[in-house]
Amino acid sequence: MLAAAPSLAGAIARVPTCALWGLETALVTVEVDVASGLPAFQIVGLPDTAVSEARERVRAAIRNSGFEFPLRRVVVNLAPAERRKEGTGFDLAIALGVLRASGQLRRDPEALCLGELALDGGVRAVRGVMPRVRCALAAGSRDVLCADENAAEAAAAGGTAFGVASLREAVAHVAGDARRPPAAVPAPGPPPRPAVDLADIAGHGTPKRALEIAAAGGHSLLLVGPPGTGKTLLARALPSLLPPLDPDEAVIASALHSVAGLVDPAHPLLAARPFRAPHHTASHHALVGGGSPPRPGEVSLAHTGALFLDELAEFSPAVLETLREPLEEGAITISRAGASATYPARVTLVAAMNPCPCGHAGDSAAQCTCLPDAVERYHARLSGPLLDRIDLRVHVPRIAYEELRAEGRERSAAVRERVAAARERMGARLRGTGRRTNAELTVGEIRRHCVLGPDADGLAAEAMRSRRLSSRGVHRVLRVARTVADLAGADGIAAEHVGLALLLRGP
């Protein structure tokens, strides 16, 4: 028997890093102990599959960077151990810890270390740098050591970011032999020019009005009409009407993109509200998020902005059903194998579809060839969960040739001003609630804020008495009417506001 190894107290290396789960972050310390004993490399505090993968990458990267992997007993602990973590992004911290504990690195790494290692010792970008850097900032530490490709994102999040291409560069930086310069904070990108301006679209006064109401109040909108009448065009004009992204919203929306690995390195912070248009073949994971480790889906990537479902009837009903929770709650919780992650998902939903299977019901230029029952089935397929969440439904007819040529259309900029003014009225009303739009008014707030003028009250009362509206339907109409009034700068809701809300609510 060998004698017990002498205690190596003080030889434990500690390297700061940050764990990610969903959008949650937590500071983690990588503790590395190199003790005498049979050569071994153990990692605790990570899920099993992630451990074996990290072990192989770290061992190869250290060797291939010209360092020695200690032929002793190496134990790595990611503390706190019980905290859920995604597996990647710790490689750099682990490798620096091993080098520090084995005496190959002279100084303690003090910066937040985020990076995955390639077998040749290269440092690779990881997802979720932005929220992890913000987490470190909140704990008072600012320096970040990460892959070159992540440096701009870390800097945009407020960190002092040092980008490295390899483990050797990281070691030289920490040891002070060759300090890397801090990455420049990327200038915020100019707000992208929206693809479509309202003035590009001929005719369609009512659909445009519905678009304005949706943009202002965050109400969901369904555009229905024959092929080629401009439904997709109208939906793509929505970004041109949305109010600018305020800084708090920009941070969270950008963090969601970061976690999904969708950051634009040149402009890591979003400059405009996102507009996401998933294809109708999108899986349920792609749409609402999922997987292990979890990733946000389109409905969360659209958070603070708009989600556009074109050709709505082509989406699988089962997939659409999964949108119910995020549309209702403004957030989606993904549960898998006992672990769950929550992503925000407050979106303005826009959807477009044809009125029937052949597309030509109500088309002045072509005859519908569908059997009446087939048209009913077509609508029934969509009814229930999703159509229940639609606040505005508007027909997009084929327009006359003269209208296509007509001049004097209102530009998006003018409408955007009305939208911004209406949003300000809503914001003042909802201050302190964390909610911003009329679409999110609670029943209590409706009672308080949707005060009806006498003639409007008569109309609403008649609608309720006639039982053509459920109480849920009444609330939906009142929220929309509130937005119509806000767009008109009116405090009270008049009959014309309720009238338009009723007309645009669909069956």
Binding site: L371, R468, E496, G499, L502, L503, P507
Partner: protein
């Protein structure tokens, strides 16, 4: 379900004009509904808004004049005719292209709620023994039965291949008065009916009273032209809000103020595609 053999006193006399009258017919409702003046109102399943309106107007005129409306309870024109007769407070007989139990077990959509109303006002009739289902040949035989049960037939809309043209041929062979509703040039749903008129096979129906005269009934106060421009614009089918604004020349703010009470009171309804239509 009532089973009527040919020797039964309640067996409809008019069926005896057929070269091979059905040995047995099955009836739910009143077998007597097949007596008295009757007009067949039939047409394509793929109807237009125009066809739906005209079928309804003819059926309502029949109802007001006490004339039974006979049709085949198919989707489209047939259903519009039955519904028009019922909404007008009249009687209607549905002659099925399949046995009654099979029809009752499979009917869906907008026709389903009409079944008890048809049964209550007149009758469901079939010449097919359970469990015969719908087949091409059953519809051919059924169409002859429709022609036989009525004193006159109106083809509202029919494409080139429409089964309603078979009913037209049967009506002609049985020397029933035959009318076709003229349709817009270029409308696929009127190619067959316009051809019936052009070739002189059928008379052009210029008003519901044409067919009522032919069966010896008197038209009761034909409804005057619709005064409200909104309701008038919607007579030929539902319209989008902007289309309605263009037809009526009422711009949107005023239009929505006028539409809202009509929607709330149930005069108008909103369709799944956002169009506004008359409640029928």
């Amino acid at each position: 379900m009532i089973v009527l053999r040919r020797d039964d006193g309640r067996y409809p006399a008019r069926l005896r004009v057929l070269s091979r009258p059905p040995e047995t017919i099955w009836v739910e409702g009143d077998p007597g509904a097949c007596a008295g003046p009757a007009v067949a109102v039939v047409g394509t399943r793929r109807m237009t808004g125009y066809g739906e309106r005209v079928a309804r107007e003819i059926a309502m005129a029949c109802a007001a004049a006490g004339v039974v409306v006979v049709s085949g309870f198919a989707q489209g024109i047939d259903t519009a005719a039955h519904r028009g007769a019922l909404d007008g407070g009249g009687r209607t007989v549905a002659v099925l292209g399949e046995s009654i139990p099979v029809f009752l077990a499979t009917v869906r959509g907008r026709r389903r709620p009409l079944v008890p109303r048809v049964r209550g006002s007149g009758a469901l009739v079939s010449q097919f023994a359970p469990p015969v289902g719908p087949r091409a040949w059953t519809f051919v035989e059924r169409n002859a039965t429709i022609a036989a049960l009525a004193d006159a037939a109106v083809i509202v809309e029919a494409g080139v291949w429409s089964g309603a043209l078979i009913t037209a041929a049967d009506a002609r062979r049985l020397r029933r008065a035959l009318f076709a509703v003229p349709g817009p040039l270029g409308s696929a749903a009127s190619v067959g009916t316009n051809a019936l008129i052009a070739t002189g096979v059928a008379r052009a129906l210029t008003s519901p009273s044409d067919v009522l005269d032919a069966v010896g009934a008197r038209a009761v106060t034909p409804a005057g032209p619709e005064r409200d421009p909104i309701l008038a614009a919607l007579r030929d089918g539902p319209l989008g809000v902007d289309e309605l604004a263009a037809r009526t020349r009422i711009p949107l703010p005023g239009l929505s103020a006028r539409l809202a009470p009509l929607l709330v009171r149930g005069t108008l309804r909103l369709l799944g595609d956002g169009r506004v239509g008359l409640v029928s």
